[in-house]
Symmetry: C2
Subunit: 451 residues, 2 copies
């Protein structure tokens, strides 16, 4: 027979079972945390009409799209979860209640140049709160709490949520009378961390033609540092000159004020006047999250407040605030850095049941008992030598093995071996599932990430 | 601004939030049940190289494929989860341990003609056990238990698992010396339920040219009815004439023998000599599952034993047994038939928290307490009238509303209203999350389907 070489496309993450289990655990924690904050899960199609999906797109994004025709239809694979959300809210507007809070964890597609750590198929894990016409600032204040809770639940502690407010930036550039070049200025300021304040100043002057006064003011502004209180105090010096600035500052103060009540420690949160998150979409608070020990990774959870989610589909004004975690990339980084907690079980079953009698009924009945008790049980009946069976249990890291021989069957018991400690005990059939459940649950305690 | 009409492609299921919650609940039960039987979850890419994905395909399937080029690559969307499994096992053979038990619940794509209840993007929920060279018959005997447990956990009781064995059919046609036309004969016999035994006999004679003796034997064979014991007894009459037949009968006896130990009631299981499940892939036990009150739906869970999972990719002999649930279609049918249990909560949160004080800190702190206790809490801070807020809670079917006014804040308490009973009580802040948790858990008891 002619054979085809089995392969998986480059840029597509395909995990071995044990890694997949670790991935799924991370994913479950995101789902659970998002749910605790009252977000409802959505699952929109991977394929959309190109006309709908690309209503807004252009430039770099459009080039990366997986776009094709099927019959008469011009179709595209979604490249993020925001555009499908905009479509969903516009389409189902009359059936939804606002504020509408949804999470979605799903695969998106971008035909990027293949390179290490870059994926063409990857999961995004998004939450958004959408208002109808208006949306209260408290929703923006709640986002850092959700980020904090999510990362903490994963087992991370060495991270910081950075926030800024676009109204402050826009207002500040208006005070300088350079608001007509605000987008270009922000693009330069965005390089601050890479090139330093001096070079940013040079670029603003040489490339954008800003006068030395303006450059000086900008460099002074983006150099504002200190505790959140100190940054807010410094910002108050600019108050009273521009309405947008003042509104932004008041929003930022509200966000900072409620941190304690939301349970976010001050040291996991920093006001950072240098972040802007893209050019024309965000209009209020913006968020980034950095791993303190891995700044090279960039932001692992970003987002912000926007005024118009679905303007390409509806005249309805739908403001919102949202964040996105690039789950596939985050998992890749955590794995590369050796941060995954390998002590948590990744085996497909909690117990491997080895029948040692010709009639398999007792072993099968025991497997049925285990499953009824919530213990994941696998029957192993392949006609192999004992050593091969134990090797199998070892290779899969199965935590327990159960032996059912004539002796056990006669006594109504089962022999249970802890594959880590090597300890072996005989337990009555009725008590064995409970015996296993307690121990299995104990092994499953702990977060999927260990710093 | 030029606007695009928001729409979702026909044949793509996109659910409103409450329905999505019901769908997710069904999906979670499949995942959980599959896990209890020791299957590990996989997540392979949606896109594969066409050369790999279509190594075997042809005819009707190939026409339905979503196939396109991106750069130099000829790509296709997966149309089932079996071919990606075959690729996975061939590719990762050296890193897997056999028997390899995996489940996968994922979207697959088929460009079928759009019609009611037919989907172009739909979930399949598969399990397979793959052996290396050999695979014990007990794996085939366990499958009915998994089907039974899965459907029972969903809340279904009015279903029956039908099984047959391809070796019995192949052996029987060999006894008649018509094994060279076995595939054609099975295709005709497959119509039995629709057209009756008489017409099947006519077609076998007129269309396939079988002599009257053979037709008579076949009609007699497929008319074998009765309890499992009676069918097995009838089959024993044919014993001793053909090795394949005898092997198939012995396999069928083994599968039937262990039903009790596996916890499958006899009345949920029927040996049915008329089912064959496709023509050349299955080689042993085959399964179908029918909803007794909705036979028109056809089989909702099918599969069987095969000898060669990955022959298009590897010379390794990889026998296996697997079943697949068409989850999207099943959900569609359950919803159409009004079988979804609408008593289970579908709200995005368990409690809606309404602050009635200017300082929101007490309400926020209470939300934080609730979440820490595993109660899904949503803060509602939009500046709306009281009635509008209660309407919002009603529309989302939020089970509880919490009020925090000056009175409550002073007392360190919160007023909790049960939105179903209308009952309202004041509970101390520290006790309130527990008070809610108990009641929320109680509301979540029950299966997602109610017959």
């Amino acid at each position: 027979m002619e054979r085809v070489k089995a392969r998986t496309l480059s840029g597509f993450m395909e995990l071995l079972p044990q890694k997949q289990k670790q991935f799924d655990r991370v994913r479950e924690i995101l789902e659970k945390t998002y749910s605790l904050y009252g977000f409802t899960g959505l699952d929109t199609p991977v394929i959309e009409s190109s006309e709908v999906l690309l209503a807004k797109a252009g430039g770099e994004t459009e080039k990366q799209i997986y776009r094709f025709t099927k019959g008469d239809s011009d179709l595209s694979l979604r490249f993020d979860l925001t555009v499908p959300l905009a479509k969903y809210v516009a389409l189902h507007y009359n059936e939804l209640s606002f504020p509408f809070r949804r999470y979605q964890i799903g695969k998106v597609y971008r035909g990027e140049r293949a390179q290490r750590g870059r994926f063409r198929e990857f999961y995004q894990a998004d939450i958004d709160v959408i208002g109808d016409g208006k949306l209260d600032i408290i929703n923006e204040a709640e986002i850092p709490a959700i980020i904090y809770q999510t990362f903490t639940a994963l087992g991370l502690n060495r991270f910081r949520i950075r926030i800024n407010n676009r109204k402050i930036l826009n207002g500040f550039y208006a005070i300088l009378h350079w608001d007509h070049r605000a987008a270009d200025i922000m693009r330069v300021v965005d390089k601050l961390e890479k090139i330093g304040a001096e070079k940013v100043g040079l670029m603003l002057h040489d490339d954008l033609g800003l006068d030395q006064d303006a450059v000086g003011e900008i460099v002074k502004f983006i150099s504002i540092r200190g505790s959140n209180q100190e940054v807010l105090d410094a910002l108050r010096e600019y108050q009273g000159q521009n309405e947008t600035f003042d509104l932004g500052l008041s929003e930022l103060e509200t966000v900072a004020k409620y941190l304690d009540a939301f349970g976010v420690p001050q040291d996991h949160f920093a006001i950072d006047l240098t972040i802007a998150r893209g050019l024309d979409y965000y209009t209020g608070t913006v968020y980034e999250t950095v791993l303190l020990d891995h700044p090279e990774v960039g932001s692992v959870c970003s987002g912000g407040r926007y005024d118009n989610l679905a303007e390409y589909y509806t005249e309805k004004q739908l403001p919102g605030v949202g964040i996105s975690i690039g789950l596939t990339r985050l998992f890749y980084v955590l794995e590369e850095q050796g941060l995954l907690n390998d002590d948590l079980p990744t085996a497909p079953a909690d117990v491997l049941i080895l029948p040692m009698t010709e009639d398999l009924s007792p072993a099968i009945a025991f497997a049925t008992l285990c499953r009824a008790a919530g213990v994941r049980a696998q029957l192993y009946t392949e006609p192999k030598k004992f050593k091969a069976k134990m090797n199998y249990a070892d290779k899969l890291s199965l935590p327990f093995v159960a032996f059912l021989g004539d002796d056990e069957v006669q006594k109504g018991a089962v022999s249970l071996k802890d594959m880590v400690s090597g300890e072996q005990v005989q337990v009555s059939l009725s008590e064995a599932p409970g015996w296993l459940k307690v121990r299995v649950d104990a092994k499953n305690q702990g977060a999927p990430i260990r710093e």
